[in-house]
Point group: C2
Chain length 193, copies 2
Amino acid sequence: MVDSAARPKRRADAERSIARIVAAARELLSSDPNAKTDDIARAAGVGRMTLYGHFATRAELIDAAFVEALRAGDAVLSSVDLGGNARDAMARLLDSSWQVVAESAALLAAAEEVLPAGRVRELHEEPVRRMTELIRRGQDQGVFRTDMPLDWLVNVVHYILHGAASEVRAGRLAPSRAADVVTRSVQSVLACP
Amino acid sequence: MVDSAARPKRRADAERSIARIVAAARELLSSDPNAKTDDIARAAGVGRMTLYGHFATRAELIDAAFVEALRAGDAVLSSVDLGGNARDAMARLLDSSWQVVAESAALLAAAEEVLPAGRVRELHEEPVRRMTELIRRGQDQGVFRTDMPLDWLVNVVHYILHGAASEVRAGRLAPSRAADVVTRSVQSVLACP
DNA sequence: TCTAACGCGTACGCGTATGTACGAGTTATA
DNA sequence: TATAACTCGTACATACGCGTACGCGTTAGA
C-alpha cells in the first residue's frame, strides 16, 4: 500500500478500489479530521473489509491520503514561475498556495494526530524547500529582510496561510479577500524593515 | 461549579479540592490537550470520584480550567501600560502576551475541542478587545495600517503568537529569541506599508 | 457533639472505534 | 477456463474513556 510501484502484482480492480478509498479519505478528512474509517469506506463505495484489505491501520490510510494531497499540491505549486523579482514570484506562489493550504488544513490536523512528527515534516520537505529557496533568493536580491532566522520566516508564512484558512472556515473572512490579505501580510513580514 | 460565589454553602475542604483539581487540569491540559480526567484527578491528589463530585462532565472541568487560565492571563495583561505611542505600547503588550499564549496553547486546543465555539470566543472577549483597541488607536495615530480589515489584523497577531509558541515547543526556535521575532514580525505586519 | 458534606474505592454499564476471523461469492487475467 | 486475487458481510474480540451506583469512613463547622 506504500507505493503503487511496490506491488506490481495487484489487479486492476484493486488498484481502482484503492484509488477510490484514498480519494474518499482525502475528501472526508479535509472537512473532518476525525472521520471514521467506516465513513470513509462507505463514501468510497466499498465495504469496510475491503478497506482493511488494503490498509492495515487507520494511520496507514491517513498517511496515504496525506501523501496524495501533498502530491496534488506539489503538482500545482511546481508549475508556478518563481523566476524574476522574488517579491513578484512570492505573490504568485502565495496565490496558488492559498487554495492548496485551505483545502487540506483538516487533513493536516488528522495527519499530525496519528503520524509520527518526523513523517509529517518529511513529507513537507518539498514545499518547505521551495519556499525557503525563494526567500533566500529574495534576500540575495536585497528585497527580503535578513534580521530574523530564515526558518522562522518560512514558518511565519505558513502560519499566516493557515490562519487565513481558519478565518475563512469560521466565516470571519470573505474568501474573496483572503488571497489579498495573505499577500499583503506576508509581503510586509518579509520586506526589509 | 460555575462560580465560587454561586454556591456559598461549600465547605472549605471542598473549595481546596476544587482549586487543586483546576490547577492540575491547567497543568496537564497545557502540555497535553488529551489528558484524561483520571490523570488529572491523580495529579490533583484526589480520587476520580471526588473530581466527578465537583465537575459533572469533562467539558465542565475543561471550561473551569480554561476560565482560570484566562483569568490569570488577564491579570498579567491588564497591568501592561498601553499609553503613549501605540507602536511602543504594542511592543510592551506582545512582550507579556508571548508567555501567556505559549503557556496555554494546548489548553486552548482542548477547549476548542469540547466547548461550543461561541463559548471560547466569549471568554476571549477581553483580550481580543484589548488588542483591537490598541490597534485602532495606532491607526488613529497614523502608525498602523488601515488597508486591511481590523479583525484580520487582530487575528494575524494571534496566529503569529501561536506560531511562535509552536516553534518553541518543537525546539525549532530558541525561547530567548521568540519575543524578538514575534515583535519584529507583528510590527512589520501592522506598520503602514 | 452531632450531622451534613465531603473523600474516595470498587464495580458496573455503556458507547464508540479499531482491528480480526471466517467464509462464501465474484472477477480479473494468465 | 482455471485459479488466484479481490469483494464484502457477519460476527467477534478488545480497548478505551466517560459517567453512574453504591457504600463506608472521615471531617468541617454550627
